[in-house]
Amino acid sequence: MKLRFRSFFIAIFLTAGTYLNAQQAASPAYLSEEDLYNEDLSSSPVISDPFESVNRWTFKFNDYVYIKILKPVANTYQKVTPDAVEEGALNFFNNLQYPVRLAGNVLQARWQGAWVETKRFAVNSTVGIAGINRPADSMEGFELIPPEDIGQAFGAWGFSEGPYLVLPLLGPSNLRDLGGLIADRAVNPLNQPFSIIDHWSWENRLGLGVTEFIVRSPTILERYYEMKGSAIDPYSSLKNAYTQYRQGEIAK
C-alpha cells in the first residue's frame, strides 16, 4: 500500500513536471522592455511643421474664439433648441454636403461609395424632407458610410501632406487638405462658382452661413474639448491627432 502511494505521488510529480516543461517550451516570448518602450511607433506620423510659430499663434487665437465666442453660442443654441430640432438642422446641412462626398468618392473611383451617397441623398432629400430626417439609415444598402472629401482623394492619389497648417477659425489642416478644402467649397452648392443661392441677397446668404456655423458649433466644441482635456500640449496633440486621423481615413 505504502509503495503504491509513493508511486502515485511520483507519477503525479512526473506528470506535473512534464506539463510545466511543455508549458515552458510552448510559452510564447514575452514582449521585452525594448519592444515596449523604445520601439519606433509605426503609427507615429512624421509631421513637417516649418510654420510652427505662426501655427501656434493661430491655434491660440482659435482657442480664444472657441472659448469666448463659440462656447457661449453653442451653449445658448443647445439650451433654446429641442434635441430633435438640433439633430434635424445638423442633418439638413450634412445632406447639403452631398456633392463634396460624391466628388470625394468619384475622384477615388469608389463607385460603390458614390452610388450609396447618391441613393442616400435622394431618399433623405425627399422622404426625409430636405434632409432633415435620415430615413436612409434604416434601409438596407443605404446605410451611412464614412464621408469622403477631395482632400482624401488627393491623398489617395499620392499627394504628400505638405507642411502642417492651422487655419484661422477652421483649425488643423495641411497644404494638401487646404487644396482639398478649396475644391470642396467649389462643389458645395451653397458656395461659388456653382451656387444655387446666387440670386439670394447677401444678408440671406450670410444668415445661412451663420446658421450653419451655429448648428455645427456643439459638435466642433465637443471634439475640441475631448482633445484638449487629456492633452499635455494641446497644439502638439491636435497636430498629431489630425494627421493620424486623416492618414487613417485615406488608407481605408
Binding site: 500500500m1 518602450y37 491655434f59 487629456s230 499635455i232 502638439s236 498629431n240
Partner: protein
C-alpha cells in the same frame, strides 16, 4: 485511497485549466464594465468627480498596469527624466488620463460597448476592436495588448484611427525638444489644477 487520487487529479486539472483560462477579451470587458459601473452605476450621482476618478483608476489598475502605456508614450524621453522625476511624471499623467477619461465618459446615458473578434497580430500581440455608441454617436476603439510575464497588458489604445500612445509621444517629443523634466512636472500639475478644460491656452 481512490477518493484521494480522484481529488488530487481534480485539483491538478483545475490548476492546469486556470493557467490557460485568462481570456484577454473577457478581462478587458470586465475592466470596462467595472469603470462604466463607477460612472453610471447605482449611487454614482452622489459621487464627486474626483471620487469617480479615484475609483476608475483603482478599477483600471486592478486589471492593467497603466505604467506600460505611459512608459511607451515617453519612449526615449524617459531617459531624460531624473530618477526622482520618473515616478512623479507617471503618477501625474495617470491622473490626467483618468480625469479626461471620466470627464468624456460622463454623458447623460451609459454608453453601449460591443466587442469584435480578437485579432492575433503575433504570438505576443493581439488587438481587440470595440464599438462604443454614446449619445447617438458611434466610436471605434481598438485595444492593443501585449503578452508580459504579468499577463496580457494594454500597450496602446487606438480611437478613431488615433493612437493614444503616438499622440502622447508627439507631445512629449515636442516638449523635450526645448523643455526639461521639471518643466513637464510643473505643466502637468497646472493642467490638473484646472477643474475645467476651458482655460485659455498659454503657449
Amino acid at each position: 485511497m481512490y477518493k484521494s487520487i480522484i481529488c488530487y487529479f481534480f485539483a491538478f486539472s483545475a490548476f492546469v485549466m486556470a493557467a490557460d483560462s485568462k481570456d484577454p477579451a473577457a478581462e478587458l470587458q470586465s475592466a470596462i464594465n467595472a469603470s462604466l459601473e463607477v460612472v453610471y452605476g447605482a449611487g454614482s450621482e452622489a459621487k464627486s468627480d474626483p471620487d469617480k476618478q479615484q475609483a476608475v483608476r483603482g478599477v483600471l489598475e486592478s486589471h492593467y498596469d497603466l505604467t506600460i502605456l505611459i512608459r511607451r508614450a515617453m519612449g526615449r524621453n524617459w531617459e531624460l527624466l531624473k530618477e526622482s522625476e520618473q515616478e512623479e511624471v507617471i503618477d501625474l499623467i495617470k491622473q490626467l488620463v483618468v480625469k479626461a477619461y471620466v470627464k468624456n465618459l460622463n454623458g447623460s446615458v451609459r454608453p453601449k460597448v460591443s466587442y469584435g473578434k480578437t485579432i492575433q497580430i503575433s504570438e505576443n500581440r493581439i488587438e481587440i476592436p470595440s464599438t462604443i455608441v454614446a449619445d447617438g454617436t458611434t466610436y471605434y476603439v481598438t485595444y492593443r495588448l501585449g503578452l508580459l510575464p504579468s499577463g496580457w497588458e494594454i500597450y496602446d489604445i487606438v480611437a478613431e484611427n488615433i493612437s493614444v500612445v503616438s499622440n502622447y509621444r508627439q507631445q512629449l517629443d515636442d516638449h523635450f525638444q526645448r523643455g526639461t523634466g521639471a518643466e513637464l512636472i510643473k505643466k502637468l500639475k497646472n493642467i490638473l489644477k484646472n477643474e475645467e478644460f476651458d482655460n485659455e491656452i498659454k503657449i
